[in-house]
Amino acid sequence: MIIIIDMPKRLVIKDIEKCVGCGLCMFACSRRHGEIGNDYSGILPVSLSGFERGATVIFCRACKEPPCAQVCPTNALTPRKGGGVVYREDLCIGCKNCMEACTIGAIFERRNGKPALCIHCGYCANYCPHGVLGFEEVEA
């Protein structure tokens, strides 16, 4: 699968304190791939060491100089205009280098060993019921 999105927009956090951990964003992301579940999701709703301390979401910060792309041996990941990366699954050998390189752990492992990561399409932002996520233009 080839996904090329070069609109200089990115998924952003509007107010992380409002996150209730519902995961509607996570399900939206796999839905975008035509899948029911979370295997393809590039966003992860987590509790903060238990729901007594609330919830948050983890996803790609759209690095200008992405460490994940720097360690990819096959150019499956390449820097994207506006930050973050473009991912070409057909080039990916599933070495998991990228998963280790991302400082915030925003690359997740799919069942087939390949990465699931946010490519800043903005789809999930439409489904966050609590105004946590936004999709905004950024300087390229």
């Binding site: 951990g21 399900f27 899948e35 029911i36 295997d39 393809y40 509790s47 729901f51 069942r111």
Partner: protein
């Protein structure tokens, strides 16, 4: 759909494809009934190795919002009959994404363990070190730190109550959601099972993307915009406290009254204004009805030191540990809820047991020799201690009380005011006939089986008992469809038969509202049949005198009316299955 079967006696597991089961019985309740029938000796002792636990989810889990429940089915150590309890949290989606429709747990481990299901693998982990940790929150944290799968997992566990086999111990998931009723926690305890973690990463293809998206959006929109769920959006279930109090339907001080002078203090409005600190949601739920209060407590001895604990509250807890015990202070109420949460007790059963004990002490049926602490309505500190005793069971009295109010009143007397129905402690409604008939004939003896409390509020005049029974059964039959789809009952206004049929269609299954209703009837009958096979006898249902003494919304209830209803239910619905 696949079924994962785990045998604790042999530390083995296997996976079976049971598409057949899910096609015929939908999922959740419908499938769990069948699996229990297949897997279990129905005469087994609930706390023996032979008891079997089934967790089942449905075809809408992960696919649509609000299909967020997991159904647990087992033999209940509280009632000795069918146990079924539903919980939210992340359990359902974790099981679905791991690739299963149901998980069956059999046998008994020789030593304490917890289980980790990670997609297609099952790991048995040594739990000897954490076995005796009584605080279910700490147990959850330890397991969560040790295991992977953050964000895509569920951590189900028991606290001290499950360890000590309190017959109304619950299994807690994601800190604040519970398989609360009928003692699943004790069944875990009896199997030396401290917890069950399910980590699920996976997905399945959408058959018809266009149609699916359309139905998804429709359901989401209904949930967010219509009145169907408004109640849960705002104050949460706690919104019920004030109106029920005004209706004279709020059980107070062991149902000696139905109006509580301090109801306002512990109402949803007051809790929201003074304590509400955060809300969280079950997985794939846009509502986030889980209301969490922040309680700031000073250290006992050190000035300017505070701890802040976060406590989830719901209507049933406010009733059971609030009005039922005469507790009118919010801080006191929250401390009691927290205590029950920590130990992993069913709040409703605990409150009703303590309310009975308080009245039994007042009347001299028992003395302080039994209760150790002087229980009196409104005394928070005494109840906090008594909850410790229910778990620790330092004397014969608490050993008995830990078996439920039915048992306690058999031993010590006071059956007239022992508020249990089918041996399950009473939920928080004393509205009218349908409420109590509903508890009695509901197959889980839960208010949610058939919502009699809601029917009572709609009735303009009291119909014949037969009509009430028919309407309750009809409601319960439809709810079998919802709990087989594992749709949250709070979303029942969204998931009407037509929408359910459409949602099925988008997933590639043909069905119709009529067929769904027929399945509901079928599942109801199957469940009742299972109950009968487990030894259920409708003639053994006890009517606590108290419900005929205390005025409710319908005034004073007549015993004969309820008896007539039970006679009719037995004849019309039970006997044809025997």
């Amino acid at each position: 759909m696949k079924v994962l079967k785990i045998d604790l006696s042999k530390y083995r597991y296997e996976v079976e494809d049971r598409k057949d089961l899910f096609e015929e019985w939908i999922g959740g309740t419908g499938v769990a009934v069948q699996l229990l029938k297949e897997e279990m000796d129905l005469r087994a002792d609930p706390l023996s190795e032979e008891n079997v636990i089934v967790f089942a989810i449905g075809p809408f889990t992960s696919a649509y919002p609000l299909a967020s429940k997991t159904v647990a089915m087992f033999k209940s150590p509280l009632t000795g009959n069918l146990g079924e309890s539903h919980a939210g949290g992340r359990t359902a989606t974790a099981i679905a994404n791991a690739g299963y429709g149901a998980i069956v747990i059999k046998g008994k481990s020789k030593k304490p363990i917890y289980i980790v299901v990670h997609n297609d693998k099952v790991y048995f982990r040594d739990a000897r070190v954490i076995w005796n940790i009584a605080d279910s929150l700490i147990v959850g944290r330890i397991i969560a730190e040790r295991e992977s799968g953050r964000g895509i997992r569920t951590v189900m566990r028991i606290g001290g109550a499950g360890n000590k086999l309190v017959r109304y111990a619950c299994v807690t998931t994601e800190t604040y959601r519970h398989f609360g009723r009928l003692g699943l926690g004790a069944v875990f305890g009896s199997k030396n099972l401290k917890g069950l973690v399910v980590i699920g990463r996976g997905s399945r293809k959408i058959p018809d993307r266009h149609k699916y998206k359309e139905v998804y959006e429709k359901i989401l929109k209904l949930a967010l915009e219509s009145d169907a769920m408004k109640k849960y959006h705002l104050l949460g279930t706690a919104v019920n406290v004030n109106p029920l109090n005004q209706l004279k339907a709020l059980p107070t001080k062991n149902l000696k009254a139905t109006r509580f002078e301090k109801a306002e203090e512990i109402s949803g409005e007051a809790l929201a204004e003074h304590n509400l600190g955060r809300r969280v949601a079950c997985s794939h739920c846009p509502i986030a009805c889980i209301h969490i209060a922040a309680l700031r407590i000073p250290y006992e001895t050190e000035p300017y030191f505070y701890k802040t604990i976060m406590i989830s509250y719901d209507y049933e807890l406010i009733y059971a540990l609030g009005s039922m015990l005469g507790i009118g202070s919010r801080d006191g109420l929250l401390k009691l809820i927290h205590k029950v949460e920590v130990y992993g007790l069913d709040a409703m059963s605990t409150g009703v047991c303590l309310a009975w004990a308080t009245e039994a002490l007042e009347r001299g049926l028992i003395t302080e020799k039994e209760t150790i602490v002087k229980l009196s309505f409104g005394d928070v500190d005494a109840y906090l201690k008594a909850i410790d005793y229910i778990v620790k069971q330092p004397n014969e009295f608490y050993r008995v009380l830990a078996q439920g109010v039915e048992k306690a009143s058999e031993v010590y007397g006071g059956k007239e005011f022992a508020l249990a129905f089918g041996k399950n402690e009473m939920p928080g409604y004393h509205v009218g006939y349908a409420t109590h008939i509903g508890y009695l004939i509901g197959l889980r003896h839960s208010h949610l089986d058939n919502a009699g409390y809601s029917l009572d509020q709609k009735l303009k005049e009291i119909p014949k008992p037969q009509e009430i029974v028919d309407r309750l059964v009809k409601e319960e039959e439809w709810r079998q469809v919802l709990s087989s789809l594992v749709v949250c009952f709070f979303a029942r206004g969204v998931y009407k038969p037509e929408i359910v049929a459409e949602a099925f269609e988008a997933l590639g299954y043909e069905t119709s509202p009529e067929e769904l209703k027929m399945k509901g009837e079928k599942i109801y009958r199957e469940k009742l049949r299972l109950k009968i096979k487990m030894g259920f006898d409708p003639d053994s249902l006890r009517l606590p005198k108290r419900i005929f003494e205390t005025e409710c919304f319908h005034g004073k209830l007549k015993e004969e009316y309820v008896k007539e209803a039970l006679r009719y239910w037995k004849e019309r619905y039970v006997l044809p299955l025997v």
